[in-house]
Each structure stands twice: as structure tokens, then as C-alpha cells.
């Protein structure tokens, strides 16, 4: 307090007149604040994003392997017409949808328990228990799953101990989703994706459920609804925006990931891996750029659908 008063007394001249200058010109003050971050953000992020879009309209010369800097739709044509490329887009989108549905199914009971049954103390525990794995190193979690899913790893051991070994073999021999081991099959990849994005689904569902007023549930019961009916007709519709909000994360994160499909899973390519490989070893930035426009477009479409379900109100 004394220090503050001293400073007020000492602050005469330049500081005061500078303050008055900005007080009289709020726009100048605003500009002063906003110019550095916006300049940085505009050039580094938005500028790069624009240059990426621009370069997706370039093409690559097949003989010299050099980028031809002339606007053309050739790269997009290549993306849409080559069956292998279309497969990659479909494979990634299918995985994203499957992961989103699975995350919603596992997250809902956890979020529901947190919001409706847990005591305040247990609620804090749950909250931290959901946040901690979310913030644990991404790469370390992926690595952990490689250990768990390996041929002689923990999951195989667990299933064998429980006498479920034959069930695992049957699942792995299923065409398409199976593979030689869990760590090299789409089943394994699916499990890892679901694990990785689960907290991103639990938190918004929990937030939506917390906002359901108890009185509504009591009213529903007073009017003669059975618990199941209340759940279906009152709670579920009100929680749905939360599910939609969570699905934005699970969907978007799956679409863009390139580490998980590389570390765990079957040999089929995913969008992210294609982007990484095309810019790296292949040196084909135009095709990498065109491929990275796909998740942007898919997410934009997804967002417009989800917006109708009120996902943004639940964020």
C-alpha cells in the first residue's frame, strides 16, 4: 500500500501524460496492445495456413520432382481420382467415426456418474482422474499402448489368464480389422485412439449433465415417468450437446493424427501419415497440402452439422 502510494506520488511527468494520452485515445491503446500478437499470429499461423492452401494448387513435375509454381487443379484431381488416395480418406473418416462413437459410449457412464451420483469430494477426485491422463505426455501414452498390445504384452497375458485367448485369436483372424498381433491390427489402433481421446469426450458430457436441473428430473418422476423414461426423454436430449461438443474433439483429433497409425496398427495409410510422408521422403508438398485440406473440409462439414445440435453452447 505504502509502495503504491509512493509510486502514485512519484509518477508525475511522462507516465501520467502517457496514460492520459491513451485514455483520450482508446483506439491507440488497443492498437498498441493488439499489434504485436496479431502481427505474430497473422504472419506465422494464418500466413502459413494461406501458403499451405496456395501450395495445394501447385503441382509436381513427375520427371524432375520439382514443384511447379503455377495454379492448377491437377493435384486435387490426383487426390480425387486415384483409388488409393480415396481409400485413405475413407479409411481415416471411418476410423474417426468409429472412435467417436466408442468414446461417447464409454465416456457417458463416467460423466453421468460424476455429474449425478458422486459426492463433492468424489467429484473432485473424478475430475483430477480425468484431467491427469489427458495431460500426460501424448507420446508416452502411445508408447505405453505399444507395450500393452505387443505379442507377449500385458493385454494378451490378461486375456490368456482369463481364458479368453481363443476369443482374441478369433478377433485377430477377422479379415480387414484383424492382423498378426494386436499391435499390428486396426483393432489395436482403434483401442489406442479411443483411449487417447476419451477425456476430451468425458469433460464436455460432464459439463452438459451438470447443467441439467434436478427439478426437471423430479418433475419427470412426479409426472409418472419411470427412471428409464426420464433418462431417454429428459436427460439424454439435454446431454446431447455435450456429446456433440466432445465428438468435435475426438473426430478432429483422429482425422489429423499421424503418430498412432504409424506406431500401432495395420499397414494401410491414414491422411496424417500421407501428409507427413509426402512432405518428407517424397518431397511432394503440393500433394501433402491437398491432403491436409481434406481434414479441414471434413471438419468444417462436421462442425456445421454439429452446430445444429447446439454443440457450441456446451463448450
Amino acid at each position: 500500500m505504502i509502495a503504491a502510494r509512493g509510486a502514485v506520488a512519484a509518477a508525475g511527468g511522462w507516465s501520467r501524460s502517457l496514460s492520459s494520452f491513451f485514455y483520450r485515445r482508446p483506439n491507440a491503446y488497443l492498437l498498441l496492445l493488439l499489434i504485436p500478437p496479431l502481427l505474430w499470429f497473422g504472419t506465422v499461423y494464418l500466413g502459413s495456413l494461406l501458403s499451405l492452401l496456395l501450395q495445394s494448387f501447385y503441382s509436381i513435375n513427375d520427371f524432375t520432382a520439382e514443384v511447379v509454381r503455377e495454379p492448377t487443379l491437377a493435384t486435387y484431381k490426383q487426390l480425387i481420382t486415384q483409388p488409393a488416395h480415396v481409400d485413405i480418406v475413407l479409411r481415416t473418416t471411418t476410423m474417426a467415426i468409429a472412435v467417436t462413437i466408442a468414446c461417447a459410449c464409454i465416456a457417458f457412464p463416467v460423466a453421468y456418474y460424476m455429474a449425478r451420483y458422486a459426492s463433492p469430494r468424489l467429484k473432485t477426485f473424478f475430475y483430477i482422474a480425468v484431467l491427469l491422463p489427458m495431460w500426460t505426455s501424448y507420446l508416452v501414452k502411445v508408447y505405453a499402448w505399444r507395450l500393452i498390445l505387443a505379442k507377449s504384452g500385458m493385454l494378451t497375458w490378461l486375456l490368456d489368464t482369463l481364458g479368453l485367448g481363443p476369443a482374441l485369436d478369433a478377433a485377430l483372424s477377422t479379415p480387414v480389422i484383424g492382423g498378426p498381433t494386436l499391435a499390428s491390427s486396426y483393432i489395436g489402433m482403434f483401442i489406442v485412439f479411443v483411449y487417447m481421446w476419451l477425456p476430451y469426450m468425458i469433460l464436455p458430457i460432464h459439463a452438459a449433465l451438470e447443467r441439467v436441473p434436478r427439478s426437471l428430473i423430479q418433475a419427470s418422476a412426479d409426472l409418472g415417468a419411470k427412471p428409464g423414461q426420464t433418462f431417454r426423454n429428459v436427460i439424454l436430449p439435454l446431454a446431447f450437446p455435450g456429446v456433440a461438443a466432445g465428438s468435435v474433439f475426438t473426430f478432429s483429433l483422429t482425422l489429423g493424427d499421424y503418430i498412432i497409425p504409424g506406431v500401432v496398427g495395420a499397414p494401410g495409410y491414414f491422411i496424417g501419415m500421407m501428409v507427413y510422408q509426402q512432405q518428407g521422403t517424397a518431397g511432394n508438398i503440393p500433394l501433402a497440402a491437398a491432403f491436409s485440406v481434406v481434414p479441414i473440409v471434413v471438419i468444417a462439414i462436421y462442425l456445421t452439422i454439429v452446430k445444429r445440435f447446439g454443440a457450441f453452447d456446451a463448450l
Binding site: 496492445l33 463416467v110 505426455s137 507395450l147 491436409s292 471438419i299
Partner: protein
């Protein structure tokens, strides 16, 4: 008034507990395997336990230099993000002007779009500008999403500080700079600290953007990533993974406590 609906069924308890176990056991596996005596397969349960791998890790120069690089990058990225993020939040919190909506929307793009988009766009732009990849290009990429984290933390706090405090300060004769220095900034301190710590942890752990912008530099996550495809000395990778967990966890827990305690007070 409690109906039977207010009590969870057994099935419900099992589902909730199962979800939590599913979310936590992989981290225990990492820690467990850091002590295993078996270094060629991922045999479970481990045949024996040893602390040998910690000694090996401490003697390795490549681990130390990767750790040093990661810490340096995270520090630079966090400092840049703190400055730019808080400026953006101060500017956008209470002002109203044309195009503000567009700016707020653009500021969430780096976390709304998949990380790979940030990575490939930066790389495409840097290649176009013929910039050499290295330490500063890693910082550039990290600062971009760290900025958003700091911005979100600071703007959330600014929205909760009552405007009357600043008005009272001005009424009592303080000018704009003094109000900023003695009223606004002290209120922001813990939000800045929390945002900075989250940004630090995020940057320290980042791999998706880093792989694009690192060139030949090896941060600690890139070191682990390389190990995944050259799986020699597997338990060593686990020791490094445990290190990463500890270094990212501590600031995150601190940040969580900081934001919580101030929320409870207000």
C-alpha cells in the same frame, strides 16, 4: 426427496470405475517397464526388476542433450507466448470493434484444427521462404499454440475481474498505467503463471508439430519417437518416458492448483 433414481446401480459403478482404470493403467505400465530386466521383448509380467536402466539413462549424452534442447525450446516458447498471449487477451477482453469476432475465432484455430495442419502449414511456409529449420523454427511452431493457451487462461480471468475495481482505481486518482500495474496485473498473476506452466508442459511434450519444424534437431519427444522404430534398449526408452511424465506433470498440477484456488476465492 430422494428417489431410487438417485442411487447408482452396480452396473453403473462398474462402468464408471472401469472407465477410470482404463484411463490410468497405461501410465503404470510405463513405470513398471522402466524397471524390467528383460530388454528385448515386452514380456508381461516382467521377469525381474532392476534400477540398472536409470544408471544407463543418466550416463547417456544423447538423452541429456535432447532434454536440454526440449527445456530450452519450452522456455523460449513459453516466454513468447506469455507476452503475446496476455497482450492479445488484454486487448480483446473489454473492447468492441469491427472484426473482433473473426480475430477470436482465428485465435482458437490452432487448437480446433488438428496439430498436423499447424505443422505442415509452417513447414510449407518456411520452405517457401527458404528458412533453415532448427531451434528457432521449433520455437516458432510451439509459441503459436502456446500463445492460444495463455490467451485462453488470461481472458478467462479478465472476464471474472469486476470492472468496478479498475474504475475505483481511476476514481481514486490512479492513471491508466498505474491501474494496470497495481490493480489489473496482480489479479492476473496466477492466471499468467498457470497459463505459462501449461504452455511449458505442452511445448515440452509436443511431437506432432515438432517433427515438421525440427529439421535435424532432436527434442526429447523426437528422441522417444526415434526409439519406437529402432527398438533397442527398450527399458531405457521407458526411463526417459518416466522423466517426461514427471517434467510435464509437475507444472500441470501446479497450474491446476493455481487456477482452482483463485476460482474458489472469487
Amino acid at each position: 426427496m430422494r428417489s431410487s433414481f438417485d442411487r447408482p446401480t452396480i452396473l453403473h459403478r462398474v462402468a464408471a470405475a472401469g472407465g477410470l482404470v482404463f484411463m490410468h493403467f497405461p501410465v503404470f505400465i510405463i513405470v513398471l517397464y522402466a524397471f524390467t530386466t528383460e530388454d528385448r521383448t515386452y514380456q508381461f509380467p516382467p521377469p525381474g526388476l532392476t534400477t540398472h536402466w536409470f544408471e544407463v539413462a543418466f550416463a547417456r549424452n544423447d538423452v541429456w542433450s535432447a532434454l536440454g534442447l526440449s527445456l530450452a525450446v519450452a522456455t523460449c516458447a513459453t516466454l513468447a507466448a506469455l507476452m503475446l498471449g496476455s497482450l492479445a487477451a488484454l486487448g480483446l477482453a473489454r473492447s468492441r470493434f469491427w472484426g473482433k469476432e473473426a480475430i477470436t475465432l482465428a485465435l482458437i484455430l490452432p487448437i480446433a484444427l488438428p496439430g498436423i495442419i499447424t505443422g505442415i502449414s509452417l513447414l510449407a511456409a518456411l520452405k517457401l521462404a527458404k528458412v533453415e529449420l532448427g531451434f528457432w523454427t521449433i520455437v516458432l511452431g510451439h509459441a503459436t499454440f502456446c500463445l492460444v493457451i495463455v490467451y485462453n487462461n488470461v481472458i478467462a480471468r479478465l472476464r471474472r475481474i469486476p470492472r468496478s475495481l479498475s474504475e475505483a482505481s481511476m476514481d481514486l486518482g490512479a492513471d491508466g498505467l498505474q491501474t494496470l500495474r497495481y490493480v489489473v496485473l496482480p489479479q492476473l498473476a496466477s492466471a499468467l503463471l498457470a497459463g505459462g506452466m501449461l504452455a511449458f508442459a505442452l511445448s515440452f511434450d509436443e511431437i506432432i508439430v515438432t517433427l515438421f519444424t525440427a529439421g535435424h534437431q532432436k527434442t526429447l519427444p523426437i528422441w522417444i519417437y526415434d526409439q519406437l522404430f529402432r527398438p533397442r534398449e527398450r527399458p531405457l526408452t521407458n526411463v526417459v518416458a518416466v522423466m517426461v511424465i514427471l517434467i510435464t506433470m509437475l507444472p500441470i498440477i501446479a497450474a491446476y492448483r493455481l487456477t482452482r484456488s483463485t476460482e474458489e476465492r472469487s
